[in-house]
Each structure stands twice: as structure tokens, then as C-alpha cells.
Amino acid sequence: MSILDRFRKVSESPTKPGETPTQNKFDVADLYLGPVDTGQPSQAPAAGLDEKLRQAYFWIVNHGIISPFYDIEYNDGPPQTFVFGDLKANVTLPSDQSYSSYVLLPLLNLAAKRRCLLVGGPGRGKTAIAMIMGVLAGYPLKEVKRAIQHGQPQMTVTDLLGNPLPSTMVSAKSMDEVVIAWRKWLGMRVKIIDEYNRIPTRTQSALLTTMGDNYAELYDQIFECPEAAWYLTANDDAGGGTYQVIEALRDRIDVVVKALHFNTRFLSELLLRVEEGIRPEEIVPPSIIFTDSELDALGSRILQVEMAPELIRRLEFFASHFEFFEPAARQIEYMTKDTAKLASVELATLEAQATGKDKVADLGGQTLNGVSVRALMTAIIFIKAMAFFRGASRASFEDARQMIPFVLHDKLTPNLNSPYFETGSNSALRVDRVSWIRALFDDSCKEYDRLDLDRDDAVANVESVFEKGLDGVTEKEVKAQLVQIERTLGKWSKSRKLYGHMFDDILKLKYLHQRYSNYLKWLQWNR
């Protein structure tokens, strides 16, 4: 086998033994799925797309990017753990197939067609992995390279989007008649913006429209972009670069991945590549390149992955900790960090009021903001994508635990004044956001288990009755529900401090109380 053949070798199926693509539902449309593309949007080949995705992953980690890091850990039995150093660093040997976030996340981003920010020092392969994603999407390498938008301080909106044709600029009687030569990259399904934090602010706004709303606008002309996977790179995640990145643009980024350092033990591998002149993006095996219909099918297959109600409930509970901020208002609906932010008041100023809560245990105290709807939607998509990648039709708790840190990386801002970061070895979590967010999720789940919410969830009980509908519900039943809500609120008001997860529960109960009260009034009027 030649060196080149060795680098082109794709892992044999099954890449995840014991996990074959399975289905719980049998859709009649599956009859027409197979090796021939029928031109239908939901078309997917018979061969498992998850298997192809895994083969692409293993090719990249084995031959493409040297990334010997397994920071996304899965275990199907007790893993072996070793402790090193005075700071008690844990090293876990995972017992199930585990992954390198630096390769996996960009690949999931390609499958889910979202927006991925690759951060890390120069020369760590950020642009290389983005280019490999372009090649995996079926574009020739030359086209991918030409389509990369290199951020630089002089970059104008027309540099980014396109130019009006000079002849039409002269002859046009209205803006409609100006013909724009749109840049080719706008029509591609993989978009790469290199060093996005070097783009001037005005041009960033144009980029925001393209990234956020999937169209480009110039001289009143609109270019509708296809659904695409975006890859942005930056040397500095903390707002460095030539220009400050506008907040809205940062908010559009769905997932943040760090390019880890080069492991010097792999220098001989690097030497081989230098000597043989091998560039991974030039030798991507054709069998792992996705067609357009496969990319479309990947997106729809990911969305078909189920989320168990128990997992959704845990996500709800996790997200509920952060927005609540008791000192921000007198009326409960406004007790949010957003209220303080809109008033331009530092949380620390208001925090001085004693609320009697344990500031270390209160998870909400660790952040300066809450989790947005967009971030939650993105989290759900990446959790599903992770489950799909592992060949499962239902997302697991571990899928959520592994994906949330990367999705919320730039979405949750740590409150560095929180006493939590002073305790034990938590000071490292001030800078290690992935571990911090994972710890937040773990602590949230511990609290969820302590409250025994899987079995005793007062709000879920009331909600399940309400979801059956109000049609035919008698006055007596409505009154019983109202009493149930009032009793729950009464009990909570006596026995607990007010924490973030209770905030959403109280508001939900208030909402249900209002719905039942209105219905009761109607029943009494209709009597």
C-alpha cells in the first residue's frame, strides 16, 4: 500500500459495531429511498448516512487533522480514572466510543447546516478543517479555496457581497435596473470566513444579514443564499482582533470549537506529511464526499431524532436557572437579568441586597445572562445531531451533556464575581468554559435529582391535566385544579428560597391559574 493509499483509507463499516441504523417508525416513503437520487428533498440513500458521517469523522481524525484528543467522552461501563498533580487533574479512559470535539463539531455543523466558530492560535488547522468540510460537501478544493473570505481591515461590503456592473450603474434609471455581480461564495453550501474579527464593523453588519437571514442585499437587490454550513475562524475568542465583533453577529454563531495544541508526540506523523507533500484537503476519499441530496437528507434525518420527555424536562430545568434575578424588580415577571441589563445597571450593584440564598449553590448566580430561545433551539439541534452521529434514533442524556458546553460557550457569560469560582479548584473554570458549562449542567441535574422531579413534579402534574383540554371539563374539576395550583404556590412560598427554576415554575402556575380562572368565569356565565 502506497503512502497516499494509506492516507486515503476510509474506516471499514461498521464504524460503531453494535449500532446499526434503526427506526422505530416505518414510513411508507422509505420504499422509494435507495441508491438512486429521485430528486426529492427528503431523499436519503439506503446506506446509513450516519455511518458515512462516522466514516468521514474517522478519516479526518486518522488521516486529515492530527487531533488526538477525546474530550467528548462516552462510557458504557465504569471508566478507569487517574488523578494527577496537586490540582487533582482527572484523566478518564472512556469505555465507549469517544470523540475529538475539534473534528466532530465542525462535522455536525456541516450535517445540521449551522454556524461554527473555530478559535485558537495561528497554525492549528482551523482553516484546514473548514476547507475539508467544503470538500466533503462536494466542492473541488480550488473552488473552496477561492470562496474563503479572508477578513482584513480594508474589507468593504462590496468585497464581501459583490459589485454593481459599471455599465448598468451608468444606464440604470432606477435601483432595480442595477445589475449586481454577486460573489460566488454566496451560492455555496459551505461558507468560510477566515479571521472574521478582522472585518470592519460596517462589513460585519452585511455579514450579519447574510449569516442570520440567509440573504445578501446590495443596491436594493437581493440574493437568496442556499442553506449552508458556516465556518468562521478567529485567533482570539475574547473580543480581540482588529475590530470588536458586533454582539448580534456573535449571537448568530451556534457553536464554538477550540483548536487544541499540537501534541508533540505526533511530530513523526507531521514529518511524513512534509516529506511526502501530503495535504489532507487534497486527498479526501470520494466515498466520504456528500452529495447535495445527502446533505439535505442529513438535515431532515437529524430532525427526526426523538427527544425523550425526561430529557426535555432536564433541559428546561437547566435553562431555567439563569435568567432569574430577584433583586431586579418587585413584580415577579420582571425579575430577570435582562431587566437590569436594559437599565444599564451592574448586577453586582443590585446583588448587594441580601436574598438569603446560598450564592455558591445558586447556579443562576454564576452567569450574567440567561439562555436565549435561539441558543436553546441550537442546543436541541446539536443534541439530535450528536445522537444521529452515534446511530441512535433517540437522544440520550449524555448527548445533551456533551453538546451543551459547545453551544452555550459564547452564549452564557460567567459572573466572575460569583463566590462559586473562589471555592475549591473552581478558579480554573473562570477560563475553561467548556468544563464550567458542563459542571453547571451536572450540578443542575444533581439538583433535579435531589428535588426528585422525575417523580414528583407539581407543575407537570397540573400541566398534564390541562393538556387534556378544557372541553367538557366541569366547574368542580376546574375548581379542584385552581385549588391544586394555589396549594402548590402556598407550599413553596412557605418553605423555599426563590431560585431560578422556581421562577419559571411559578410563572407557569400563574399562567395555568389564569387559564382555568377565565374558563371558570365562562362556565359560570354559561350556566
Partner: protein, 358 residues
């Protein structure tokens, strides 16, 4: 002809044309040969792209044989129906053929029979629909045939024959494809039962009565009533017959021999379905008088949907199958009200019996 002045054939299409001309003068002037001549450069570029850029090798001679032998009748039929659509149909079929041949689904050494049968027999019968949307119709029908060929209990040849008849009544490509799904169930794809029944209920009534003419129904209500009967009424419903009772289907088998089970399975009822489990995975069992299929699925929530038989059920099943409950060879049994599944300690098969409540 333009070919006569061309240099010696060095590209696939010129090779095909040369072969076609040698084979018969008729073929050289056939709609297929004309279409190949019309798009010669484009077809050759596609072949080059497919074999070189995508690195999916296709032997040009084998490919030309496929085009001549499998596509000629179809293109003739399309030309007779709508000559203006011939070039478009050939373009799509050329592309589809490249995909199929490079993946080994057609060709001299292919182990698949059905794609060629679809090309030669079914697609010519669907010429009006091919003229409308060749990619959708040809792609779907070939995919369906391949799916049926890989399902042990399916009868794809019967499906092809019945689809040819369906094509005479269907009015649109969608109608034809809906008929294809419904008929696939009738030809052994038991897991499509509920979806096929829904299609039978909503498709045009003349099409439904035509494709299911074997049911002998006069109107839709009668048809739906007959289709929804899982097992043929007869001896199996006579609960007094005990010793002579034979299974209506035997499914499963050991993985070493191509079956789904790594160990003798255990059957159970999960909600409305019959299910099975071996040491590794869970499966759903689909069975009716048209076929029986076992499909792997994600493990259910731990025993969440499992229905345990009540005393009355146990008494009834035991009265009809005395050895099924507690018999020395029986590993497990489950009954969903119409079908009884039994597994044995020494077998990887699942034995299915028709058994309705009296």
C-alpha cells in the same frame, strides 16, 4: 450519419454508438441512438466526471451494453408517447445508470436482478409518467425494487407485474408511486401495512379497486373492510382445531445464516405490536396474510410499553395451544389479538399463528 465521419471511438458514447451500429442498423436510428448523438459531448463529459472526478469506475463496454439492452425499449415507449421528452429522459436515465453501475446494482456481474427487470419491463409500461418526471419515476421504482429484493418475504417479481397493470390506470406519477407502496405491502412488505392502508383509503377509487382487484371488492368500503382483515378467514379461526394447526408464517433465523437473531429470541407484546428481543437488540414483528417481516429497532424504554397477558388471555391461548404456555420447549409467546407468536428454546425462528378472539 455523423458517426461515419468521426474518428475511431475513444469515448464511451462513441463506443456505444459504434456498438449500436454494429448490432443493428435499426438501433442506430432508434430514438435512443439519436438522443445519444444529440447529447454526445455532454454524456461523455458526465461519464468522465463520474469516473474520474468522482473516481467511480464504470466499464464503457459494459455500460454501452446496459444502455442498449436495458434502455432501448423504454426510450422507444417514451418516444411513442411524447417524442419531445426523449432527450430529457435519456439524460436522466444515463445519470441513473452511471450511479447504479458504479455501485454494482446493474451490469454483467451484478448480483441484483430487479433493477434490470425494472428497466426492461416496468419502466416502458410507465412511459407517460417517465415523460413527465423521469428522475422521480425511474429512481423511485428502482429503489423500491431494490428494497423489495433485499426483503426475504417480499415478492418483487409479482410487484413488477402488478405495477405494470397499475400504470394503465394511474393518472399521475404520484398516483403510480402511491400504488407502488400499496402493492409492495400486498407483495410481502408487511411493515408498510398501516401506511398502505391509509393510501388505499385516500387514492382514487378506480385505482384502488384496480390494483386490489384480487380482493374482489365492488366499492371502497368493501375493499377497505377486506384489506383490513389480517388473516384469511378459515381453519385458523376455528378454535376447536388444535393439533393440526400450522403456522401462517415462520420468520427470523440465526445471524450466522443471514437471519436477524443472534440467540433464540423472546417475543412480547409492546403496545399494539408484537416484538422480539435477542441478547443484543429489539425487533418489531409485522405479519399478515401478505407477508411477515421482522425489523430491528431502538431498544424500547425498559419494558415501558410491554403488555403482560392477563389471566383470561393466558387461559384462552392455552386452550387453543396447550403447549404454548408452559410447554417444555417453549421459550416465550405473545399474542396481539390476531396473531400469536411463539418461540422455542432451541430455535432462532418465530412461529406465527393466526388466532383471533372468538
Amino acid at each position: 450519419m455523423a458517426q461515419e465521419s468521426d474518428p475511431a471511438p475513444t469515448t464511451p458514447v462513441s463506443e456505444m454508438q459504434a456498438s449500436a451500429m454494429q448490432a443493428s442498423a435499426m438501433q442506430a436510428s432508434s430514438p435512443l441512438a439519436q438522443a445519444l448523438e444529440w447529447g454526445r459531448e455532454r454524456f461523455n463529459a458526465r461519464y468522465e466526471h463520474h469516473t474520474k472526478a468522482l473516481r467511480r469506475p464504470v466499464d464503457p463496454k459494459e455500460f454501452s451494453i446496459h444502455l442498449m439492452e436495458n434502455m432501448g425499449t423504454l426510450v422507444d415507449a417514451v418516444a411513442a408517447h411524447d417524442p419531445s421528452s426523449v432527450n430529457r429522459v435519456v439524460e436522466e436515465l444515463f445519470e441513473i445508470s452511471l450511479e447504479l453501475m458504479s455501485a454494482g446494482y446493474v451490469g454483467l456481474h451484478s448480483r441484483y436482478r430487479l433493477p434490470e427487470m425494472v428497466f426492461r419491463q416496468l419502466l416502458p409500461a410507465t412511459a407517460p409518467f417517465m415523460a413527465q418526471n423521469p428522475r422521480l419515476v425511474a429512481g423511485s421504482l428502482i429503489n423500491a425494487a431494490l428494497a423489495m429484493e433485499s426483503e426475504p418475504s417480499a415478492r418483487p417479481e409479482e410487484w413488477v407485474e402488478r405495477m405494470k397493470m397499475a400504470a394503465t390506470v394511474a393518472k399521475t406519477p404520484k398516483g403510480l408511486l402511491d400504488a407502488g407502496i400499496a402493492l409492495s405491502w400486498h407483495c410481502g412488505m408487511a411493515h408498510f401495512r398501516s401506511g398502505a392502508l391509509e393510501l388505499a383509503r385516500t387514492m382514487p377509487v378506480d385505482l384502488a379497486l384496480h390494483i386490489f382487484h384480487r380482493e374482489g371488492a365492488a366499492n371502497r368500503n368493501e375493499l377497505m373492510e377486506r384489506l383490513s382483515t389480517k388473516w384469511t378467514p378459515g381453519e385458523e379461526d376455528d378454535h376447536t382445531v388444535k393439533k393440526t394447526r400450522k403456522p401462517v408464517a415462520v420468520i427470523g433465523g440465526f445471524t450466522g445464516f443471514g437471519g436477524p437473531f443472534g440467540a433464540p429470541p423472546t417475543v412480547y407484546q409492546d403496545q399494539d405490536s408484537l416484538a422480539a428481543r435477542d441478547d443484543i437488540a429489539d425487533f418489531i414483528i409485522f405479519a399478515d396474510r401478505f407477508g411477515a417481516v421482522v425489523k430491528r429497532r431502538e431498544p424500547a424504554e425498559p419494558q415501558s410499553g410491554v403488555v403482560k397477558p392477563d389471566k383470561e388471555t393466558v387461559r384462552f391461548v392455552k386452550s387453543v395451544f396447550p403447549n404454548a404456555v408452559g410447554g417444555p420447549q417453549t421459550k416465550s409467546w405473545a399474542w396481539d389479538g390476531t396473531t400469536l407468536a411463539i418461540t422455542l428454546k432451541v430455535s432462532h425462528k418465530v412461529f406465527l399463528f393466526s388466532l383471533r378472539r372468538p
